[in-house]
């Protein structure tokens, strides 16, 4: 008889350990079914959370072999084939505090979500009695973001959150903020952008784990970059926006980056000076040339083409 084995990372009242459970294989079953089977027939103390078992409620997210997934839609057959094994490593999702076994603390995440004012500021032309108006095209612009089920899979393997949760929000929070920014009915997009800007919008390390983990195929990292664009256009200023603006100016002017002025424009004189030793090393390796401060680049061959592309991109953004 084929057997399925779960190695479950358990935690209770300060004690962490891995416990192994083995049960009979059945075809076409889910990882969640296996957890329920263990709880029902082997160990009632195994603790996990689940509700809808149809991938819409977001309760049963767990790490299976190191990757965050919804237990209810993850098929044992498919995973056994993908990983080439009937043994699975099951752990709570990452970057959450664990309450017990696979149950994590969502309550601690509520205030982080509230940071970005996750509710609509309805335009004054609409009222409760008239309802709102929106074109089907405008509806399509943000509806994808509303499909977030708050499962936390995007946060689980977020490299920035793993390095520190204090100065960065969970990826789904930016997706939520962008949901309102992109909603044509919202009257105060900056009420969502500003707090995102203040809370780590430029700290994303572009690992894209949030995109690859999202069971609903949402793109939190893309939402982060869209929010950055809105912040930059709105004239908000930090190293991130200044870097982006300087980048564009250089390309427009010469088609090449001027690394020296780039640093000055992005970091300012004081912070740039602090990196003097680093700059010397770059100079020594021919990566930058301080003379560029005085003698600017000549425009590259084909600069007109570069400028046309930038203008076309600006046009498309409108």
């Amino acid at each position: 008889m084929r057997q399925i084995t779960y190695h479950i990372h358990r935690y209770n009242e300060g004690r962490s350990y891995v416990q192994t459970y083995t049960f009979d294989y059945e075809p076409d079953r889910t990882i969640l079914w296996g957890l329920q089977k263990i709880k029902d027939t082997i160990d009632p103390s195994l603790t996990f959370i689940a509700a809808c078992r149809s991938a819409v409620c977001g309760a049963c997210s767990i790490k299976i072999n190191g990757q965050a997934m919804l237990g209810c839609e993850s098929k044992i057959d498919e995973l056994a084939e993908r990983f080439g094994s009937d043994e699975f490593d099951i752990a709570p999702i990452g970057n959450f505090d664990v309450i017990r076994d696979l149950a994590v603390d969502w309550e601690a995440k509520v205030n982080r979500l509230k940071t970005v004012a996750p509710w609509i500021f309805m335009k004054p032309e609409y009222t409760k009695t008239t309802a709102t108006r929106q074109t089907p095209e405008d509806f399509k612009k943000f509806v994808m973001n509303t499909e977030c089920i708050l499962c936390g899979c995007c946060a689980s393997e977020c490299n920035k959150l793993s390095a520190g949760r204090e100065d960065f929000l969970d990826p789904y929070v930016y997706t939520k903020a962008n949901r309102f920014v992109k909603d044509s009915r919202d009257d105060a997009p900056m009420a969502h952008v500003n707090p995102a800007f203040e809370n780590g919008l430029w700290k994303c390390v572009h690992c894209m784990n949030c995109i690859s983990r999202c069971p609903k195929h949402l793109k939190p990292a893309k939402d982060i970059s869209e929010l950055r664009a809105v912040a930059t256009r709105a004239g908000l200023s930090n190293k991130g926006t200044r870097h982006a603006v300087a980048f564009k100016q250089d390309l427009m002017k010469t088609g090449r980056l001027n690394e020296v002025t780039m640093s000055l424009k992005t970091d300012g004189l004081v912070d740039s000076a602090k990196q003097g030793l680093y700059a010397m090393r770059l100079w020594a390796h021919g990566k930058i040339n301080p003379l560029e401060l005085i003698v600017p680049h000549k425009p590259v061959t084909g600069i007109q083409g570069v400028r046309t592309i930038i203008k076309a991109a600006e046009e498309a953004e409108k």
């Binding site: 209770n12 009242e13 076409d28 709880k39 029902d40 027939t41 160990d43 009632p44 103390s45 603790t47 996990f48 959370i49 689940a50 509700a51 809808c52 078992r53 149809s54 991938a55 819409v56 409620c57 977001g58 309760a59 839609e73 098929k75 309450i99 017990r100 076994d101 149950a103 603390d105 969502w106 309550e107 509520v110 979500l113 004012a117 996750p118 509710w119 609509i120 309805m122 609409y126 009222t127 409760k128 009695t129 008239t130 309802a131 709102t132 108006r133 074109t135 089907p136 509806f139 943000f142 509806v143 509303t146 499909e147 977030c148 089920i149 708050l150 309102f180 909603d183 009915r185 919202d186």
Partner: protein
């Protein structure tokens, strides 16, 4: 001890809408307790839509038409005064959701889109693709966050506590994270804990959460359960898992086919075809299967198929893409290229806590209100129309919130300290006793035997002899439950203990379902008796009331159905 003016129990559409209403009133202390993160409720699983006459698509639709469709859909068991009140308030509540930011799909005139749904004369079901419940649930949550509703999350209600004068005094709840019993004093309590579909365990579209906790607690507190036998079986659960496949599949024009490739609805509802109400379609599917025209035999694995391949790819990808994902994941069937196996699945409790005043959602216990699927107003009677449940949740959630506010303004807080202490001490002792048992029948076995008895003997087709067997099984299980094995004595997040209490709730409500089904010697709506195949208005045009007698025994009674304008007629589609 926590102290609130209004305490809401449950975080689905009705609960959050009630809390939002109460929280919008200056100076009221409002809290909502929920046994899981607030957005994980059954409401979030509703797919197809929410009904209201907005005339965005069908200009000729009227409130009157929606009232009539609902009365007829209920097989005349719904109270017509309550239905009129309910339907009249649907449009304003939907527009309000839109104003709260709910992302509804749009018509070409930029208004809320509306589609066809079963048993209705016009396209009046407002939708957001096939995720309508999900977006409503999340929108309400956003508004609750905005209004700073005080969520007591991962708190599980154990019992409703009454003050000396018989009015509500609060609840005792299990703080799951801390592992202790909490006392919550409250002047008004709104129960919005959802249905009890888990009595059928896996053959249901309901989440693990739908365990009838509020129904059972209100039953113990002195409320009757009204029409508990009225359990809706959604015709198109996915074949293997019972997971919901939205009525939108039929609404957008999908066919139901038997193993001969026939659109069999022709025989059962020649004019409405696939768009007949749920009870009619569920009965048709089960009849096809029983008579050998299903796939996969006639047993538990049998099914018919839903076919949408004749619809345009755009319709499937834009309006039905959520259920396409479900069909691919859970049935290995891509609706674009092959039919989807479907079979009825337990979906909704039309019956529930007996609401005495539909204008406030008040129950027989002063200060205790009930709304949503947990309650029975009754607006759904013997069969609920698709799209009327989200409407019920937001309309009566709001009404219950208003009712609770009015009650709090006219009544001072009752002293229930002693009763709360007694209840808390009793539950604390109970926790220690049940979780320290080292033997007894495992709780999961009791649950599974209950579910099997309910599906096989009190399912879609019912008859007295089988239901008597189910009743005997339930009585046996209720005895075994008293000494059952829970198997986890830890304090922190003890889900085994929560599951134990949940199974207790399910047994309590399941017994009421069977007693109600035995009493009703007729076939009406979703209640189909093989031994009484006709509707019997002379004897059963009335509500079942199951209550708890002072001797601790179940009492079976009845009350009148309110008929105002629509005299019962034969129901054909």
């Amino acid at each position: 001890m926590e102290q609130f003016d209004v305490l809401v129990v449950g975080s689905g559409g009705a609960g959050q809408r009630a809390a939002l209403e109460a929280a919008s009133r200056e100076g009221l202390r409002v809290a909502l307790i929920t046994k899981i993160y607030p957005t994980r409720s059954a409401t979030a699983m509703a797919q197809g839509g929410i009904n209201g006459v907005l005339n965005n698509v069908a200009k000729e639709d009227t409130i009157e038409d929606h009232i009539f469709d609902t009365v007829k859909g209920s097989d005349y068991l719904g109270d017509q005064d309550a239905i009129e009140f309910f339907i009249s308030r649907c449009p304003e509540c939907i527009k309000e959701l839109d104003y709260f930011g709910a992302p509804f799909s749009r018509t070409n005139e930029n208004k809320i889109a509306q589609r066809n749904f079963g048993g209705q004369a016009y396209p009046r079901t407002c939708y957001s693709a096939d995720k309508t419940g999900h977006v409503i649930e999340h929108t309400l949550y956003e508004q609750c966050l905005k209004e700073n509703v005080h969520f007591l999350q991962d708190w599980y209600m154990l019992d409703i506590v009454k003050a000396d004068d018989g009015s509500v005094g609060g609840v005792v709840a299990w703080n799951m994270k801390e592992g202790r019993v909490e006392k919550i004093a409250a002047t008004a309590v709104v129960i919005a804990t959802g249905g009890a579909g888990r009595m059928f365990w896996t053959r249901t579209s309901n989440p693990y959460l739908s365990t009838g906790d509020g129904m059972a607690a209100c039953f113990r507190a002195g409320c009757a359960l009204k029409d508990p036998e009225m359990v809706q079986f959604h015709p198109t659960g996915l074949g293997k898992s019972g997971i919901l496949m939205s009525e939108a599949v039929r609404g957008e024009g999908g066919y139901l086919l038997n193993n001969k490739g026939e659109r069999f609805m022709e025989k059962y509802a020649p004019s409405k075809m696939e768009l007949a109400p749920r009870d009619v379609v569920a009965k048709a599917i089960e009849t096809e299967i029983a008579e050998g025209r299903g796939f996969g035999g006639t047993g538990l694995d049998a099914y018919v198929v839903a076919d949408v391949r004749h619809l345009s790819k755009e319709v499937i990808l834009e309006k039905l893409h959520g259920i396409r994902d479900l069909a691919i994941t859970f049935e290995h069937a891509d609706p674009l290229v092959q039919p989807i196996p479907v079979r009825p699945t337990c979906h909704y409790s039309m019956g529930g806590i007996d609401v005495k005043d539909f204008k406030t959602c008040a129950t027989v216990v002063p200060g205790l209100f009930a709304a949503g699927e947990a309650a029975c107003v009754s607006v759904h009677g013997a069969n609920r129309l698709g799209g009327n449940s989200l409407a019920d949740a937001v309309v009566f959630g709001k009404v219950a919130g208003e009712g609770a506010i009015a009650y709090v303004e006219n009544n001072s807080a009752k002293n229930a300290e002693k009763a709360l202490n007694d209840a808390a001490n009793a539950w604390e002792a109970k926790f220690k006793e049940v979780t320290s048992r080292t033997e007894g029948r495992p709780i999961a076995e009791i649950r599974d035997e209950m579910a099997l008895a309910m599906w096989n003997k009190v399912g879609i087709f019912r008859e007295a002899s089988k239901m008597e067997e189910a009743l005997a099984t339930l009585n046996k299980l209720i005895e075994e439950y008293k000494t059952c094995y829970v198997g986890d004595s830890n304090r922190t997040f003890n889900m085994a203990f929560v599951n134990y209490v949940e199974v207790g709730s399910l047994l309590t409500v399941a017994k009421a379902v069977v007693l109600g089904a035995l009493r009703r010697k007729e076939s009406r709506g979703s209640h189909l008796r093989e031994d009484f195949t006709k509707r019997d208005d002379a004897n059963f045009l009335n509500h079942t009331l199951i209550s708890l007698g002072e001797d601790g025994e179940y009492q079976v009674g009845q009350s009148d159905v309110v008929i105002t304008r629509f005299e019962p007629k034969e129901r054909t589609y």
